[in-house]
Structures are given as C-alpha cells and as structure tokens.
Amino acid sequence: MPTGTALLLIVAALIYFGVGQRLLDRMRLTDTQALIAIALMIGGSFITIPLYQGRTSVNLNLGGALVPLALVVYLLVKADTAKERVRSLVAALITGGIVYGISQLTDFDPSSPSLFIDPLWLFSIVAGIVGYLSGRSRRASFIAGVLGLLAVDLVHLALALGSNMATRVVLGGAGVFDATIVAGLIATGLAEFVGETRERIEGGGEEA
C-alpha cells in the first residue's frame, strides 16, 4: 500500500476513534470505559452472528449493533429521571420516522434525483437535531442516532421477512463504521457543538 494511502487511513482512523472516545466519555462513561467501548466496537466489527437463515437471512454484528445497543441501555438505566428516558426514546422514534421518510423521498443514487448531502451524514444530522431538541442533551442525541437508525433497519427487516425478500440483513453489519454508530457519534458531537455555542451566546460558556 502506498505510504500516502496508508497514512491517510491511519490518520482518518485515529481521528474517528479518538473523537468517538472523547464523545462517549462525555456521557457518564469514564475515560477507561469509553476506551473499552470503542475497543469493543472495533473488535466486535469482525464478529457477525447469524440469527436466522432462510430466504431472508438475519444477522447481527457485535461491534455495529450489540455494543452500541448495550451503551444505549446503560445510558437509559443511568438516566436521572423517567422523563429523560421517555424524551430519549421519543427522540429515537422521531429520528427513525424522519430517516425512514427521507429514505422514501430519494434513493441518493448518482443516477437519480437526490438531496444535497449523502444519507450517512444527513441521517446523523437529523439524529443530532432531534436528540438535542428533545432533551438538549448529548445522551439523547446518541440514543436518537443509534436507536433511530436501528429502528429503520428493523422496519426494513420486517418488510423483508413479510415479503419473503431474498436478502441478507446484517444489523450493524459495517461494525464500528456502521451508520448506527456514525449517526450516534455525529449526533452527539452536534449536540455538544450546538449546546456549547448556545451557552456561549447566552454568556455561560465557562461551565461545559
């Protein structure tokens, strides 16, 4: 592999994992716990568990689905109030609804009318906005991103099973690079950025 190409891959991975770890550590995880979570996502990316084999096969990737799902459950359990839990779950539901709606609006294909931004980034932004609006919280944004995208996957799975579609569904199949995790992390970063900006504008930025 060319040196430039290798360096690009290494730098991009370091930034992605580094920023991911710092974002997780802002959500009731210690530095070490956040590091372990990222490591589990990376390691789990290589493990896909077949759940059902048929015309529609159903599989689950550990790093892309199970680990982020466990994180979501942990955040929900650690939430201060029932209201916070409800807000986060509602945010996930709304994110899932909007993402599904947009998915029916366009196929983002190079040979078809599409929106101005790639779905991977667009869905992440949607999760960030909805999560922040619903609870003004990084945790709600992360939950909205992960659960929202997973909910859309489950809708697709239900449709595939319902119509006996010949397809292989792999929940979280792209592992640590799966849309569920990318959306969760970008949504969290967006909430952090918007929240800090808002606090700065309102004159309270010293306490992050």
Partner: protein, 364 residues
C-alpha cells in the same frame, strides 16, 4: 409541561409531519423521473457536453471524455448549465503501460472486490425492465463478467451479489455493510457497479470494432478520500484512453459519499444506462477488466507510478484532514472556553494529563 416544552413537542411534530408529507408527494415524482427523466449538460456556447440521470448541483464537476473539465453553474428544468474550466492533464502512463502489455496476463497480482449497491438495476433492451423486483438485476451479470475477466488477468476477485433492495435511501447504508465485509478481505480496490439512466446514445461506443457500452466513473466529494479517489479515477481514464479509446465516458466529481469514506481506491462505476443492452454492458466489463490492473498498480510495471500518483492524492487528503481537525478543535475550544489560549489546557485535559473530567456531563 411548561410552554417551552410544548413548543419543542410541536416543533418536532411539525418537522415529522412535513418530512413524511414531502416523502409521499416526492416519491411519485421520483418514480416518474427514473423512467424517462435525464439532464443535459450544456456549456456557455450552447454545446451539449453529455447527459445524465443524475441531478447535479452548482459546484459539481465533470471531466468529459476529451478531458475538458466543466463546473455546474445551475439547473433550469432538464438543462444543466456548465462552464468550461480547463483541459485536465491526465497522468502520463504510456511507457509503463507498454511494460504491462508486453508482460503475460498472469503478471497482474492483487485483490479486487466488487459489489452492487443497487443490485436490482437492469437493462430494458435485454430484460424489458429497468429494475427487477427480486433483486437479481442484470447488473449482477455485469459484475460477474467483470470478476471473471479480472481473474483471467491473474487477480483474486471477491464479488458480492448481496442484495440491498429496495432501491431506497437506505440502500447505501445497507451496502455499506457489504463494502465493509469485503474490505476485511484487504482488497487493493473496491468497485461499486451501477448503470445510469440516460438515452442510449450517451453510452454507445465501439472499441476495436466491438460494440459495447461506455463506463462512467463517479467520485464522491463528501468524504476525506476524495482527492485520492479522484486521482485513481483519472488514472483509470488515462489507462483506458490509451488502451481502449472511447471506453470511458467521463468522470463525475460530485456531491455524495457513496461509501467512499471507507477507503482510497473505492469507486463507483456506471456501466451504460437502462437503455443499454446487457450484452454491450458485459462487453464493456470484459475490456474494463484489463484496465483496472494497470490503473490500480497491480502489475509490476505500473505499481510504482500508481503508488506515487494515488499516494500523492492521499497525502494531500491527509493534510487537509489534519487541517480541518485542528481548525474544528480550535473552533470548539474557542466556543467552549471563550479564548484560544485555553487550547493547551484543553489538550492536556483531553489527553488525560489534567484534572479528571469524568464528572463533566451535559446536565440534563
């Protein structure tokens, strides 16, 4: 629930309802477009440059078959107005290519991975439909033919016929999983095969007296690998222009990601349009298979120059990535602390050298 909370709930409901309403209205429009709609690129002098089913935005760029670079300035109906920027100088590869051609076919060595985000895409003249409901579209046969021809070149090919149907906005999210699985096989290049949606004449060509479809390359701009992938696309075109003039229609450098953030030398290829025959698309695959080894540097005589050129794009991309990361971090610190002088403390804390900030929370 106080007034503020009610406003938030109302806002969310409005956003949701609006999106769903738009989706229902726009869906029917999108289907009409996929049958007959296409855009014609016209330059300042009224000359037609090409046609595409792809919707283009101001700023998107197109390298035409004759290497003229155009930039989109706006769209009026089905006409996309473009302005000529310059004639692009493609990489000089004649000498090294001669070495590759003199060598035996088995000289090629490397791993190629192929998948299809839109696996239902088909060719109307051959199948009577542009898309097959069962997901076993004609495009799979093009991919299989490309894989087989590359194996004949001595390459190891991992071809995936994984289905990502339906052809909706989640297709790229689903195919991302296939792409990631293929990347675990450590390919030298990752190809996503599609077909376009234009009138037949756009992709008609003849190479060495054989009728076949042209191939268009699409590079996504919305990812960090764009520079490296654009260099790769230029190299593919340069090799194809030398070996089989007329085979490559052009290069779109357009918005989108197309999962090209997953790595350099990942590219989207359009083999003809829905109006092309499957036979012509397969012929194109047969010839294109001989282009990839030299373009991707998978032959002894092309390895060094390919690495230098594509690696150069990757180095530029990496430097930009670092600059963007630093600027964003500095911007965040500025917002967070109100002064750039806090950067040292910020990095000390983030590196775990300062006070433990585990208690820092978002205070919901």
């Amino acid at each position: 629930m106080n007034e503020c909370r009610w406003m938030q709930v109302i806002t969310l409901v409005i956003v949701l309802v609006t999106c769903l309403t738009i989706s229902i209205v726009e869906r029917s429009w999108a289907e009409e477009r996929s049958d007959l709609g296409y855009f014609t690129l016209i330059d300042e002098e009224g000359q037609m440059i090409t046609m595409t089913g792809r919707e283009l935005d101001p700023g998107d760029q197109y390298i035409a078959g004759d290497n003229r670079l155009f930039e989109v300035v706006g769209t009026e109906g089905d006409t996309v107005n473009v302005r000529f920027l310059e004639t692009v100088q493609l990489p000089e590869i004649t000498g090294e290519l001669l070495g590759a051609q003199v060598g035996a076919a088995s000289e090629s060595e490397g791993v190629v991975a192929i998948y299809h985000t839109h696996n239902a895409e088909s060719y109307v003249p051959s199948s009577g439909t542009e898309s097959k409901d069962d997901g076993r579209g004609d495009i799979l046969q093009v991919g299989r033919r490309l894989a087989s021809a590359m194996e004949d070149q001595g390459l190891t090919v991992h071809w995936s016929d994984n289905s990502h149907i339906p052809h909706d906005g989640q297709a790229y999210i689903r195919s991302r999983r296939t792409a990631t699985e293929l990347l675990q096989k450590n390919p030298d290049t990752l190809l996503d095969l599609h077909r376009d949606a234009t009138p037949p004449e756009v992709y008609e060509t003849e190479v060495e007296g054989v009728a076949m479809s042209k191939v268009r390359l699409v590079v996504g701009r919305q990812n960090q690998n764009r520079a490296a992938n654009l260099e790769y696309a230029k190299r593919i075109k340069a090799v194809a222009d030398d070996m089989y003039p007329g085979l490559v229609e052009g290069i779109f450098d357009a918005r989108g990601n197309y999962n090209q953030d997953l790595g350099p030398k990942t590219i989207l290829l359009e083999f003809g349009a829905h109006t092309t025959s499957l036979d012509e698309a397969e012929q194109a695959a047969e010839y294109f298979a001989k282009v990839i080894p030299a373009a991707a540097g998978l032959t002894a005589s092309t390895r060094d120059t390919a690495e230098r050129q594509i690696g150069g794009g990757a180095t530029r991309a990496m430097l930009w990535l670092i600059v963007v990361a630093v600027v964003l971090t500095a911007g965040f610190v500025l917002i967070n602390r109100g002064k750039i002088g806090s950067l040292a403390g910020f990095f000390r804390r983030e590196a775990g050298l300062g006070r433990d900030r585990d208690d820092e929370d978002d205070g919901v």
